[in-house]
């Protein structure tokens, strides 16, 4: 399989990463090289094989539903790019 320039644009949009028109052919070439090597996987038969989730077979771990300590708003806001009146501030979403 091979990705077109439009495929690269589409993936970048899904990944929410802005890429410039100049970058596209470079990224396209590199991704196609990588995908060509990944194609090797299609050689191996995996019929009836259970896909790995936790490598040692651990499944759901549960605990009592009790309130635990969490970080304070004061601690969390220190790293925020824009924090006002107890809220994280972002550009307007709904006009």
């Amino acid at each position: 399989m091979s990705l077109s320039e439009d495929d690269v644009r589409h993936i970048a949009k899904l990944a929410a990463i802005a890429i410039s028109d100049e970058e596209i052919p470079v990224i396209q070439g590199q991704l196609n090289d990588i995908f060509a090597s990944i194609e090797k996987l299609q050689e191996v038969s995996t019929r009836g094989v259970t896909p790995t989730s936790h490598v040692h077979g651990v499944t759901n771990i549960s605990r009592e539903d009790v309130i635990q300590d969490s970080l304070s708003i004061e601690a969390l806001q220190k790293n925020a790019p824009d924090f006002r009146n107890g809220s994280f501030v972002v550009p307007k979403i709904i006009g």
Binding site: V8, T52, V58, P81
Partner: protein
């Protein structure tokens, strides 16, 4: 052990137990010991670039507390009391900047400690600072760091290996005696091998990943570096164990690695069956590495071990599986860097979607973007079954190959860590695919969730270090340390005298 009071330089070459003896006997204080290491960092960091952030003030404060504790409690103080450690900058440290080697976290000051950091602090360790790495752990040469590459201590024109390049080099040149790293596809073992130190990637679930910045959650593990197997084992002991905050960590008893190592020291390897996978000796390995590994196997045999040829038939699919699973998980894990709650945000975005896209475009480096794009694609509609699910099934086959080998044929597996020794800075940066091949012998271990130890095994013709990789069944770190120590004692790999004496510039 009798020692004369060491000067500042030789203090930085001591083992953990020598440091502890010196502290407990009052030969030197933790403050002196920490200051000696800070001085070493001051002298060497400009060239090697192994530390991104140095917390001198915090370190000296903890050192003073340690001196007080040693005065009052002596031998009852925990094992790392007053001893300096370095931390890969992918593990969060409360109030010490943590960048993940990325511009996107340039000013991030974590409000909490990772579990491994909490455990180090409880063991009395003095955290000196944060070590350089490939951005988010994605790389094999430390050239993908937003804070510059790390130089190899044996040849400063060459790479340190990666992604935990800073962690390996800092230990090699005496900036710290031990350090923490992370290993998702070889990021502890490969830089350990290229820089000539010992590194352990423990079993998946042995060490809590809470507070380790996630790259590929089903493959990531935190582990340790040291100048000897013993130092590496002592530090792994401290950070191991199940953690309610990481539900993938496992409640498996943590042995006393140090006592077991001391009990087995010098007793050889009689009765140990060492599996040698024929798939490890195919094309692509440099002739010097091949010769060294063949000699290393002979050394194991001389120590009493039996060599057994084994086969890992699905190993050839490891790279393909890894470059689906790891980017897929990365694309999901790194979705959180959106400029909203922490980290970098682009300047004056016109809309929310523009804020996301520009923040990520400006904040992430090329390799990180590449892996996010690969992962986004393989998880996108219509491709999930063909790529991700298929890869996870092939992963089961790779894991089963190892299980079969350990059940039927051998106790440990031995082979190379890396197909080549350290390459030149800039040599592989134009071809991402070529760089990926650097991890061909380490990746299968991550896919199978097994422990792997890298032990220095000699030099190539250019005097660059080579490492032997020892792989064991899940939770067999003790056995790997035992084999690694006997091997290491037989090989007598030297300390990097020039770098340790501060003579490299």
């Amino acid at each position: 052990m009798k020692m004369t009071t060491p000067d500042s330089n030789s203090m930085c070459a001591l083992s953990i137990m020598q440091m502890r003896d010196g502290l407990l006997s009052g030969m030197f204080t933790s403050e002196t010991l920490v200051q000696a290491h800070l001085d070493r960092i001051e002298e060497t960091n400009k060239l090697f670039n192994s530390f991104i952030t140095i917390d001198s003030e915090g370190a000296l404060r903890v050192a003073k507390d340690a001196d007080l504790a040693i005065k009052t409690k002596g031998e009852k103080t925990p094992i790392l009391t007053g001893i300096p450690v370095g931390i890969k900058d992918l593990i969060v440290t409360e109030n010490i900047r943590t960048t993940a080697g990325s511009k996107i976290l340039e000013n991030f000051i974590p409000p909490y400690d990772a579990t491994t950091i909490k455990k180090l602090r409880e063991a009395g360790a003095v955290i000196i600072g944060k070590l350089n790495l490939d951005e988010f752990g994605m790389g094999s040469s430390n050239e993908q760091s937003a804070y510059g590459c790390v130089r190899n201590p044996w040849d400063t024109e060459r790479v340190s290996g990666g992604s935990s390049g800073g962690s390996a080099v800092a230990v090699s040149i005496g900036q710290v005696p031990i350090s923490l790293g992370t290993d998702t596809g070889g990021s502890i073992r490969q830089p350990a091998s290229l820089s000539g130190v010992v590194g352990i990637r423990p079993t998946y679930g042995r060490v809590s990943r809470y507070g380790g910045i996630a790259y590929a959650s089903s493959l990531d593990q935190i582990g340790t570096f040291g100048r000897s197997v013993e130092d590496t084992a002592i530090s792994l002991q401290v950070i191991s164990g199940v953690d309610p905050k990481d539900s993938t960590s496992m409640a498996v008893n943590v042995p006393d690695y140090l006592s077991e190592l001391r009990a087995s020291k010098g007793k050889g390897l009689k009765g140990i069956r060492v599996g040698v996978p024929r798939e490890f000796f195919v094309d692509g390995m440099s002739p010097d590495v091949r010769t060294n590994i063949e000699n290393s196997l002979k050394t194991l045999e001389k120590l009493g071990a039996t060599l057994v040829e084994i086969s890992l038939p699905h190993m050839e699919y490891s790279l393909a599986v890894y470059y689906i699973v790891a980017p897929a998980e990365a694309s999901s894990n790194l979705a959180r860097y959106d400029g909203v709650k922490y980290g970098y945000r682009t300047n004056k975005p016109a809309s929310l979607s523009e804020m996301y896209a520009k923040t990520r475009a400006e904040g992430f480096g090329a390799e990180v973007k590449r892996r996010i794009l690969i992962g986004t694609y393989v998880l996108s509609a219509g491709y999930y079954d063909a790529y991700y699910k298929k890869a996870q099934a092939a992963r089961t086959l790779i894991t089963n190959d190892f299980k079969l080998a350990f059940n039927n044929s051998c106790d440990v597996i031995a082979g190379p860590v890396s197909p080549t020794t350290a390459f030149k800075i800039g040599e592989k940066t134009t071809s991402p695919l070529e760089m990926y091949l650097a991890d061909i012998f380490t990746i299968p271990v991550n896919l199978a969730g097994l422990p792997g130890l890298s032990v220095p095994s000699g030099f190539d013709s250019k005097k660059l270090p080579i490492g032997l990789q020892l792989i064991g069944p899940a939770f067999s770190e003790s056995l790997l340390f035992r084999v690694g120590q006997e091997f290491s004692d037989a090989v007598e790999f030297p300390l990097n005298e020039k770098a340790m004496a501060g003579a490299v510039s």
